[in-house]
Symmetry: C2
Subunit: 214 residues, 2 copies
């Protein structure tokens, strides 16, 4: 049975209503990682913002990229990162989707999203930014590079992984972390949360043989 296909061009995309377009374009690439970004301001007040824009930049050295849009709710996050040089990424899991989502409300600067949503700050080894206790996989990052993306006014933040906390039992012999056991959540579009169902792991691809389940 032939399915009906919608084809859009740049013109028809630009003609979409603004929130419709945001939902549509945000859905195109597939599932995105969900992370709560923890920062503090110069007065040590904790801030927390959910983001789905973190991406792996490299393992050696361990680097993470993060796109921050200054025009939406986590507007204190960028300033805090630039002011202090440190931030945390706390992986979203199914137990904290609702308070995590709620961190995107536009709280005034004097309100900590931790207190407003009931999530708990955690200090790990004097790292100078707050972690989220309820998250299972936590990363402490040091700001290395800040690239303003002129084309749309967003900001690319590149951070070096300086501290990682992961449940021991989720780490495999080969370093792979079982994110299903860590109850990881993916985000699609602007507001849709998904659990992961294991499909398969596949062996390193070689030209002369088919990949095998591992």
């Amino acid at each position: 049975m032939e399915q009906s296909t919608a084809v859009h061009t740049l013109d028809s995309i630009l003609a979409m209503e603004k929130r419709y377009r945001a939902a549509f374009i945000n859905s195109l690439l597939g599932p995105k990682p969900g992370n709560l970004v923890g920062t503090q301001n110069r007065r040590h007040q904790a801030n927390l913002a959910i983001m789905s824009s973190a991406f792996h930049l490299g393992a050696s050295p361990p680097l993470v990229g993060l796109i921050i849009r200054p025009d939406v709710s986590p507007r204190h996050t960028l300033q805090n990162i630039l002011d202090t040089g440190y931030y945390t990424l706390n992986q979203l899991n199914a137990s904290i989707v609702v308070p995590g989502h709620q961190t995107s409300a536009r709280y005034p600067e004097e309100v900590s999203e931790f207190e407003a949503t009931g999530l708990t700050t955690e200090q790990i080894r004097q790292f100078p930014a707050p972690f989220v206790r309820e998250s299972l996989i936590k990363i402490g990052l040091k700001l290395l590079e800040h690239h303003p993306i002129k084309i749309n006014g967003t900001h690319l933040i590149i951070g070096e992984v300086q501290l990682v906390s992961v449940p021991q039992q989720a780490i495999g012999d080969d370093g792979h972390i079982d994110l299903v056991s860590a109850d990881a959540v993916g985000i699609t579009g602007l507001d849709s949360y998904h659990r992961l169902e294991q499909l398969q792991r596949l062996s390193y691809a070689k030209v002369d043989k088919d990949p095998e389940p591992i």
Copy 2:
């Protein structure tokens, strides 16, 4: 019951064996989108490479970021994008995980990964890069910016969405695309593929009320 937690610092991460570290660091952020990147070289030979490094950069204008590592298998992709200025992202789905994964084998330049893996090229409206027929959500992109990331030798490619093909029935009234119905796949770590299970969609967060399922 208290779970055992592994805490790593930058020093202990840098001391990990190389592939162990790659698997570990690639797992930290959570699920990543899976896309097959279609390009052609100047002689119009089609190339296809699986990547999990695409990210949403903005909806207005519609922009996608892509990190390309020249030192791993999809090494022709970067050159083709720079040479021709166009490329496609074809969202991975559960039916094409195995041939999609196999595109990461180091085929010589004269071998098209389409032919080697059995995936089918599709031409849409004279767009100057090949799409993947078996993919359900396809994006045609024009290269806008190329930022070499000096810190680790990767490349950030920023593209403008010029053409999109999506199953009509997956698009909601609000522009959100139901990626579960589109059989979308997330990637964790280097080689682990996951189906999505719908958890919930949540209403736009406001300061004075809790988010509600939508």
